[in-house]
């Protein structure tokens, strides 16, 4: 069996406009890959397409989890297959508490007729909240409603930790975070790094990668990866800026 997240020659459009233009990527379990690139280059589209968002049209290509194509599956099926997407802008769901939300997500993973063990569940939930320095009172609050940017992102990491996915895609998790929140969120992610899990960290800024140190850095431009390297590449990008990417690869992709 192939233990990786694999994107093969993915072409995606929305309203007739091509966004991903032959995107290829392989993230093996045990590794953290960063995907960087200028705004509007297709990073968030990639994340949403992998998660099964219905607004996008897949023209061709595959997204394989452990060798199985997930494109065309419903978002909940993709989630069950092991892919977790930490949202750039987590939705606010009025009237649905964090505890009930995560519980419903855990319950959905159990076989028909089996009930979640509430005591174990809360024990686990509280332990993970403590680790993320989240007030336990948050469990009763409506999901993300009125949360600060940092609280929302912590809540995303909490969900990720609770659902124990094999493949974590993190879309601009650093956006809107101050340095303290960034540290806490990164600790949460680093704690989850393991041989059985792969991370794709999408970010615009190098800053996050000081805390979540990647094995591989990819540079995305105009719908595909144009350059890959080790963690030093992120630093190089930080110095040279994205204009360098545009200049270096605009001609290549034209």
């Amino acid at each position: 069996m192939n233990h990786s997240l694999e994107v093969k020659n993915l072409h995606v459009s929305i309203d007739g406009q091509a966004i991903l233009k032959g995107f290829n990527l392989t993230v093996p379990k045990g590794e953290v890959h960063a995907l960087m690139g200028p705004n509007g280059t297709g990073k968030s589209t990639l994340a949403k397409v992998m998660a099964g968002h219905e607004d996008y049209t897949v023209e061709s290509g595959e997204v394989l989890l452990d060798g199985v194509n997930i494109l065309g599956q419903e978002p909940d099926e993709i989630s069950h297959a092991g892919l977790f997407l930490a949202f750039q802008y987590p939705m606010e769901i009025p009237g649905v508490s964090i505890a009930n939300f995560i519980r419903a997500a855990k319950q959905a993973r159990l076989p028909e007729g089996e009930e979640i063990n509430a005591i174990e569940y809360y024990k686990d939930l509280y332990a993970k909240m403590d680790a993320l320095k989240m007030d336990r009172k948050f469990t009763a609050r409506s999901l993300n409603e009125g949360f600060s940017g940092g609280e929302k992102k912590r809540c995303e990491i909490l969900q990720m930790a609770m659902l124990d996915p094999k493949y974590c895609v993190m879309d601009e998790t650093d956006s809107g975070l101050d340095i303290d929140a960034l540290r806490i969120v990164s600790e949460g992610v680093n704690h989850m790094r393991s041989e059985d899990r792969a991370f794709l960290v999408i970010t615009h800024y190098q800053r996050l990668l000081d805390y979540i140190v990647p094995d591989v850095v990819h540079v995305m431009f105009d719908g595909r990866i144009v350059h890959s390297g080790d963690k030093e590449l992120a630093k190089e990008l930080e110095i040279k800026g994205y204009d360098w990417v545009k200049e270096a690869f605009a001609t290549a992709s034209a």
Binding site: A51, G52, H53, E54, E74, P75, D76, I78, S79, H80, F84, L85, F87, P90, M91, E92, I93, P94, G95, V96, N100, F101, I102, A104, A105, A108, R109, S142, Q159, L163
Partner: protein, 433 residues
Amino acid sequence: MNTTLETPTNTLSAKEPSWLAERRTAGLDQFKKLAMPTARAEEWRFASVGKLSIDNFNPVAAPSSATLDALTERSNLVSDRAGLMVYVDDAPANFECIGPELAKQGVIYLPISEAVEQHPELMEKYFLQESTELGSQKFFGLHAATVKAGAVLYVPKGVEIEKPFVNYYWTSGSRAAVFPHTLIIAEDNSKASVVDIFFSETEENEALNISVSNIHAGANAHVFRKVVQDWNEKTVSFQLDTTVADRDAQVKNVAVNIGAERARFENQTRIEGAGADVKMYSLTVAEGTQEFDQRTFQTHNAPNAVSDLLYKNALLDNSRTIFSGLIKVAEGSQQTDAYQTNRNLLLDPSADANALPGLEILANDVRCSHGATTGNVDKEELFYMMQRGIPQRVAMQLMVFGFFEEVIEKIDSEELVENLRQLIHQKFSGKIS
């Protein structure tokens, strides 16, 4: 119109006092004089009045004692209570009276018939004195002429009662017409809580309900009324409710509406004392071809008072809701805070929500807002939830319940809240896919 409804044979008792006989006669005259509503009338705009037939419903004989016992057994939404009354087709089925402590303090909790006999002055002052002005005057007239079932709660000055009084109004017989009445009089500085529950024995027994409830909240009185309407879908229902709030009174109304084929709500709040604070929350779940027609009127006749109305409706299938609300701030009622919000969640494209919010302000220093929103389930919220592995059906249920929670959480009894969630859950199971 059948003859039975036109001849009020159901007098409360042989000893019915003259003032009550007069009110009954006046009610009957009003019922006869006024025409059935037409769609042309502004008060009935958008309502399917053509289908609003009250023909061939009649007051029915008391059900068998087995039925009374069975329904008393099922009257179990609230176990921790100060008193209980159960009526079936307007016949008394069970009465748990107040304990000696409350009786000693002068609290009265009695069936209407007994209250008329034992406390005629009180009843003459308050009973059938507040009528709707929102379109159902004809039906109020019929109620006044016919009413025999219901509960009177009187809380004297300074007496505070934490536990609720629970009134059940069941229908059971074939094409039964019922006229339940809840009268709440909370004197100055008192505190009371009432739960009114409207249920049908089966899914099949057709019924007509014309109920009235009047709240009189004295100075600094605290009144909390919760209403659960879960008639079967063969019931035509009118709930004609009023609240009168005196100085600094705090009144909270929370209604959960699930049942009936056609349900008309007229809810009037009149603020008569400075500093009063009245809240009106309503949650409606409509399915099939149900129609819920809600008319509200908040009147501020005194300054520095608050009235806050939030009506939320979730609509499935081909159901309909109508919300029409009016806020009227009288001249001199300065520093008024009056709010009115109607939110409709459309879960099927064929469902139909209508909203008519309105304001009439004659004072110049007020804060008033009114608004109505109608929308579908948010696709991005659904995607977010499904990304966590929650199936679409469950995600929809969670979102709809989240929509309800804003109203449900206003209810202070955890037991009642849980029971209401169950009732709504039953209605939803298998509905959202």
